[in-house]
């Protein structure tokens, strides 16, 4: 264990104090900057990821409120728009350029900064060492760098909101030639360069993190923690990291080639273009090449977002049903299936680009195959809660909501993955509804479940329950109210990324509905602020944790002190003797047996 030596000094400090919970004393020795800012402690880094993610979620969410105002009330003006957007919303009416800028940045930050950085950054960092029984990541230093590359990427993306030509505005997929030619759109000027640089740095951050997670999981498990005893969270985070490491570099290459096309006169993506009154010299490139490169990341990215949520939901559903996860090995196999297939389905985003119909057929087959491991997971979750003893903690509510949303959003994937249906549904609101439910809201539900569940471990306090339940019910109902009707709009052919529908005979009948959706979106957004309020207030004012294992859970993180210092365990790291899901009679009236308890005589290990 490479970092054992580095942390050893810390551990000795603990030992000399005799295993008590007086970390305060020990932690005072560290300067504020090394402890909270440039920290190498995985637990601090995970909280940095989370809080940065929360910041971006608020920014991205606020953007959606702004463009929902435009979509719901295209005739009206809003002072609040001028307040935030200035000249981009002259007289309270949002400019189309800004509308497209907002949807672009909304998509980018939520997909990458919140649901990738904020989700796997937080929970991979927090849970991997704690649940496998390691004192820290394999390389705490690279881990710290991973966060700071993420932070810089964020600063650059944020700064692009303030430049005169506005942020990138070609949609979060930023297809060239639109994104390559500054003549084609205002947002394709400096804003696009900043977007590309920011994404490149984000890829670096994601690679540093991902490599670290993989190495840590493979090499630093505590004694007795064989791979088949790992909690499913760790399995999910392992595959997430593998997906990221193999696919993010392809996005980087796409971004670099695009930068060349923009500034070095190359023609990777450009051919035969006449724009702004003149013909460009570029010949021989293909805009479709970019789409292949983008979606080679873009599709695995969906699973990079989903897998951690799946892993956490599995863990939380089992813990609060007081039952072992059903089909542990089937769950791992389905994760493997999803990971493999994730690399083989990217072109289903491109059915209508004029691709070879035969190739399209192959991608239909592979895409619909993904439904099988997904179905296995859903049925296993349902069987996990069947005949359980369900405790409705807030985390559990969100995990249950996750399953509901994953079903709803997953099933609509069967429409879009089938190319003959996609011909009509492609780029309509059906797509918007599908991916927001399945990888937006349901991944968020997984994340919320994780936050409520592990908050006591993170801060030694509980989040406020009552507020949590309010948050859950508003978000669950609100999400369906927002996105369910959008399926219908999509079936009617209503295209996404439209600034205004009032001139369209075929789509203007949905005006009233769009208003209702906008109002629901605003309410749900305020409910999220309510969560943020609860989060921050509870860090200092929440009810204190008194029991080191408040959920009576089996995994190793609950064997650490209530507020673990750097190094996690005061003394020896516990040895593992059983799998993570022994929720059964312990012989003393308890209904669980943690992983570090040795097998009883005659007891069979799973």
């Amino acid at each position: 264990m490479s970092n054992e030596a580095a942390i050893h000094t810390d551990v000795h400090t603990h030992d000399s104090h005799g295993h008590h919970d007086d970390h305060a004393h020990h932690e005072h020795k560290q300067h504020f900057i090394t402890k909270y800012i440039f920290s190498q402690d995985h637990k601090i880094i995970s909280r940095q990821f989370l809080i940065t993610g929360i910041f971006w979620a608020i920014v991205g969410g606020l953007m959606s409120v702004f463009f929902r105002l435009q979509l719901g009330f295209p005739e009206q003006t809003f002072k609040v728009l001028t307040m935030f957007l200035g000249d981009w919303a002259h007289g309270g009416k949002m400019d189309p350029e800004m509308y497209y800028g907002l949807i672009t940045i909304h998509g980018t930050v939520l997909v990458f900064f919140v649901l990738t950085g904020g989700l796997s950054g937080t929970f991979a960092n927090f849970l991997i060492p704690l649940q496998i029984g390691a004192r820290d990541m394999a390389s705490p230093f690279l881990n710290m760098l991973s966060y700071w590359f993420f932070a810089i990427a964020g600063v650059i993306m944020f700064s692009s909101l303030f430049i005169t030509t506005g942020p990138a505005s070609g949609g979060w997929t930023t297809y060239p030639p639109l994104s390559a030619l500054k003549e084609a759109s205002m947002g394709s000027g400096l804003g696009m360069d900043l977007w590309l640089v920011s994404m490149a740095l984000f890829v670096v951050s994601s690679l540093l993190g991902g490599l670290n997670y993989i190495v840590t999981i493979l090499n630093m498990r505590t004694k007795g923690m064989s791979m088949t005893r790992l909690p499913l969270t760790i399995w999910a985070l392992l595959f997430t990291a593998i997906l990221g490491v193999l696919s993010f570099p392809v996005l980087l290459s796409a971004a670099v080639l695009l930068l060349f096309d923009r500034h070095a006169g190359t023609s990777f993506y450009l051919s035969e273009i006449y724009v702004a009154g003149k013909a460009l010299p570029n010949v021989g490139g293909s805009p479709i090449l970019y789409q292949h490169l983008f979606w080679f990341l873009g599709h695995p990215e969906v699973y990079i977002i989903m897998l951690p949520a799946m892993g956490m939901a599995s863990e939380i559903l089992a813990t609060h049903s007081r039952k072992p996860i059903f089909g542990y090995f089937a769950m791992i196999l389905s994760l493997i299936g999803i990971t493999l297939l994730a690399f083989l389905v990217w072109a289903h985003h491109m059915f209508v680009t004029g691709m070879s119909p035969f190739l399209g057929g192959v991608f239909v087959l592979l895409t619909l195959l993904i439904a099988i491991p997904s179905a296995v997971k859903v049925f296993n979750w349902l069987t996990t809660i069947w005949k359980g003893n369900i405790r409705f903690t807030v985390g559990m509510c969100f995990a249950l909501g996750f399953v509901s949303l994953f079903i709803s959003g997953g099933l609509t994937g069967l429409f879009l993955g089938n190319s003959a249906l996609d011909i009509h549904l492609h780029d309509t609101y059906f797509v918007v509804a599908h991916f927001h439910i399945v990888m937006g809201i349901s991944a968020f539900f997984g994340m919320f479940a994780g936050i409520y569940h592990w908050f006591p471990k993170m801060y030694g306090r509980f989040m406020n329950n009552t507020m949590g339940y309010i948050h859950f019910f508003i978000t669950f109902v609100g999400s369906y109210v927002i996105f369910w009707p959008m399926h219908y709009e999509g079936v009617a052919g209503m295209p996404r990324r439209y600034y205004d529908f009032s001139n369209w005979e075929s789509f203007k009948q949905f005006g009233e509905l769009n208003q209702m959706i906008s109002i629901a979106a605003i309410i749900v957004f305020i409910a999220q602020l309510f969560f943020v309020f609860n989060y921050f207030v509870s860090i200092w004012k929440g009810k204190k944790v008194t029991d080191p294992n408040p959920w009576q859970s089996n995994t190793l993180e609950w064997t650490t002190p209530i507020k673990p210092g750097h190094g996690n365990w005061d003394g020896e790291i516990p040895e593992v003797h059983r799998w993570a899901y022994d929720y059964k009679d312990d012989g003393n009236g308890g209904d669980f047996i943690p992983q570090h308890i040795p097998l009883k005589e005659g007891e069979e290990s799973h």
Partner: protein
Amino acid sequence: MSGLMLVFLVVLIFVVLYQVARSSEMVAQIQGEQQFDKKRNKILGFSMLILMIAFFVGIVWCHEYMLPLMGPEAASNHGVQYDFMFKVTLWVTGIVFVLTQVLLFWFCFKYQRNGDKAPVFFAHSNKLELIWTTVPAIAMAVLVAIGLKAWFTMTGEAPKGAMQIEIVGKQFNWISRYPGPDGELGKKYFLNINDKDNLLGQDWTDKRNMDDIIIPNGELRLVKDVPVELIIGSRDVIHDVGLSHFRMKMDAVPGITSRIWFTPTITTAEMKRKTGNENFVYELSCDQMCGKGHYSMRAVVVVETQAEHDKWLKEQKSYYVQNHPEEFPAEAPIVAPVDSSKKITMNK
């Protein structure tokens, strides 16, 4: 100022709610945590049942509300195939949806912890795993089979004798080109493009271009029951020919020519009667983000009878003739200038 007040109000509400929430936890401490947790668990288990009922009532209500707003039936041969496939997929997914959601919420209610029973230790069953691997696999095989059959018809070669029309996207409108009497579209090259008298960059050395008709607002005139093949291109960025009534869609990519074909089955006039909407019109929408005017990139599609189409075609002048009237002094006056925004003097 009012904005600030609003923010203040929201924060105030948060604080009040937080205090209320905290006091409920104090009550818990007074009552005894366990007693309180038990009560709360019961309430939440019951709420899950309510949530399920509300969920399904909401779905039915939403369906009732949406149905009259949905567009008319499909107006093309492929569209009919699409509608059938959509229904099959909807049934398959619908059954799974109802089944799994009902189980999920019902289990929540049924198996809430109430202290009088121990949970069942049930960790795996190969039989169950096998069932729910093979059943979805079979269902997927059916969907893939139906889907691929439709997909290969839709993307297959256009039938012989199909009408050919070129449709080209540019920021932010469509331009359509008809082959004229010779039935063939002439060559074009992007370096020839200019907005004054060569919108698509036609190569005038290719004689097939001479009779090609260009409609600068992209209007498509199709004939009922006659297959049409659209030759799709773009001048600048990626656009997308979205024909929602015909259930068709294809990207328009600069440097690449893409094609789709279909057979319209209902004329615009018939559709007006069917929908009872005097203003009904088939619309072509741009479905791929193309810049700030993306949402306004609209063209009209007219489906008419052969006789109407022939009459319309006769009234059109070729693009070359329109722009080089001096070369055709003998021409009779042209009936209708196609694009009123362009000031082309047609008559001597």
